[in-house]
Symmetry: C2
Subunit: 336 residues, 2 copies
């Protein structure tokens, strides 16, 4: 029987390079703008990043999209969340109705929001008892996630919603980077100390149960992951092949990038990490991948909220790059 | 003869307290919004901060203003800047014409921009040779800066423009916090190593020349400061008395807050510090005041650019606070 992951492995292995000519063009224009060279710091880097991964000397943000992937998790049976499982579907309705934080960030800053619901009525397997998904379901969900770029966004912010998914993400990090449940779990939506202990225990039991089946990153995703994490992986990879730079949200979204990174570290070169979450192990996961987050605002909401703020910065940066005067046009003297 | 600083000293000493009832009202509303409590991190704190210092249970950002104060500096005769002095006036024209970074941040995010020109044709005294200003001129400039709140902004972002003013700010920090010029100067708009050495030397010579006249913070401001720094101090203090929260920009703007803080540490309780500048000693100055910056984006442009990004975050935070659904209105289940 064919390996269901062969397509995604190929897509992760054979990623296109960035376009350095486009970056050079951006730098040449930037050098003419009325400001000391380099003085906009990471805002300048954001424009270069857009150019590099869009392959455009004049990068665009005409169709910035925030994609939220929502899934449910059997592991919530282990008492790992402060909120009941039905909140996933309720929040999906809230995203669409405009009542959620991400809805309002997108409304204020004119970002397109798309929500991808992943069979919420069919939670994944409880990872302390069984595999989250079989390999075929996992591969199919990755493929579904690739649909996120069908609307041809020129930049994609990726986030998620799923009661129980900080436990699942912690299990993925533990499997990829070592350590026990206690090293990787945090309070998620706000569990108390007993809930935190249940999360750590659930991760440890899941790791023990699946120990012999975690030989490669995609097996880790199938055994310990969740539908929204698989779909985010698909979205990230599809974006790379479609020249769409990606902004990754927080603790859970980063676990999808970690799977990609474990297959091929260069597979996430087109991704920036919007913020470091208050979820305690996020900083450790980012460090394990050698990436630096853009913001540190103590946020831990998920639903793409941090990634959307990253998009606001990118939008601002590009607006400056396109609209600032040059030394020549403004009659401003250059450096002595 | 009356002490020209008696009014400003009184205003700094007798600052109104924040309104904790307004903060409580914000927290009560926040607890009903469809998100885990605390999950928006510093965005939640920004709304509380607006409420506390506006004294409004329902804070507003209907008239967010970015004020830029521009001054020229005699110390540029010492070769301390990479750009010629005339750039200050050229950039003021650029702010108004819409070509500068701050103009475009304000345009994109609908922030009001006001530029206060401070006798650009009359640079302050070269601090290595004489006082920057006499006390009377300094006090008058502080008073002029108070005009920044005449337009009744509900939040004020404060920034500056002035070729040579990172040298002047470094001198202020050295006088307030100790150390030599080398401890406090940085590359500003981009001086080379020789320029950096000239900056450090200029600060050391200014400190030596004025050594016996730096007994209090306002004397430090007059002897070593600049018109834009004096005016920013006035704006900060007037804002406090008019219940206007203040967002402070980078290395130079912070030196005005440092003068206020040295007179009365509580005089800057209504100020947040938007970002830590790439100008090397800014982090040290913030630490000396015991304040934590909101952003770290490697920026070092001045002209209120970091403060304006802080305003964008505050605007976003308030928009969420006002427009998100509640658990009840959205039919989302609460914590177990």
């Amino acid at each position: 029987m064919a390996n269901p992951f062969s397509e995604i492995v190929d897509l992760l292995a054979l990623v296109p390079e960035g376009n350095e000519e486009a970056v050079d063009a951006v730098r040449q224009h930037d050098a003419q703008l009325t400001k000391p060279p380099g003085s906009l710091g990471k805002l300048e880097e954001l424009v270069e990043w857009l150019a590099r991964w869009q392959g455009k000397a004049k990068p665009t943000l005409d169709n910035p999209m925030v994609a939220i992937f929502a899934g449910n998790h059997g592991v919530t049976d282990q008492g790992v969340s402060a909120f009941p499982r039905e909140v996933t579907a309720q929040m999906v309705a809230n995203f669409t109705a405009g009542g959620a934080a991400i809805s309002q960030i997108c409304a204020l800053h004119e970002l397109n929001l798309r929500v991808f619901e992943l069979a919420l009525e069919l939670p994944t397997g409880d990872i302390t008892q069984t595999a989250a998904m079989d390999d075929k379901m996992c591969a199919a969900t990755i493929a579904y996630g690739m649909e996120a770029v069908a609307g041809k966004p020129d930049c994609l912010a990726i986030g998620e919603m799923g009661i129980g998914n900080t436990t699942v993400a912690a299990a993925i990090y533990a499997a990829l980077y070592g350590g026990t449940g206690a090293d990787w779990v945090g309070r998620g939506t706000g569990v108390d100390n007993a809930g935190l202990a249940r999360k750590a225990d659930a991760v440890d039991r899941a790791l023990a149960l699946h120990r012999d089946a975690l030989g490669d990153p995609l097996a880790i995703l199938a055994k310990l992951g969740g539908r929204e994490i698989a779909a985010m992986l698909g979205a990230m990879v599809a974006a790379r092949h479609q020249k769409t730079p990606v902004i990754v949200d927080g603790f859970v979204a980063t676990s999808a990038a970690a799977i990609a990174h474990a297959v091929n570290p260069h597979a996430i070169d087109h991704c920036i990490f919007a913020h470091v979450s208050a979820e305690s192990a996020h900083a450790k996961a980012l460090a394990a991948m050698g990436v630096t987050p853009l913001l540190d605002l103590g946020m831990r909401l998920g639903e793409g909220s941090g990634a959307a703020l990253g998009m606001v910065l990118a939008k601002t940066a590009l607006h400056l790059h396109r609209n600032m005067a040059t030394f020549a046009s403004a009659g401003v003297s250059g450096k002595d």
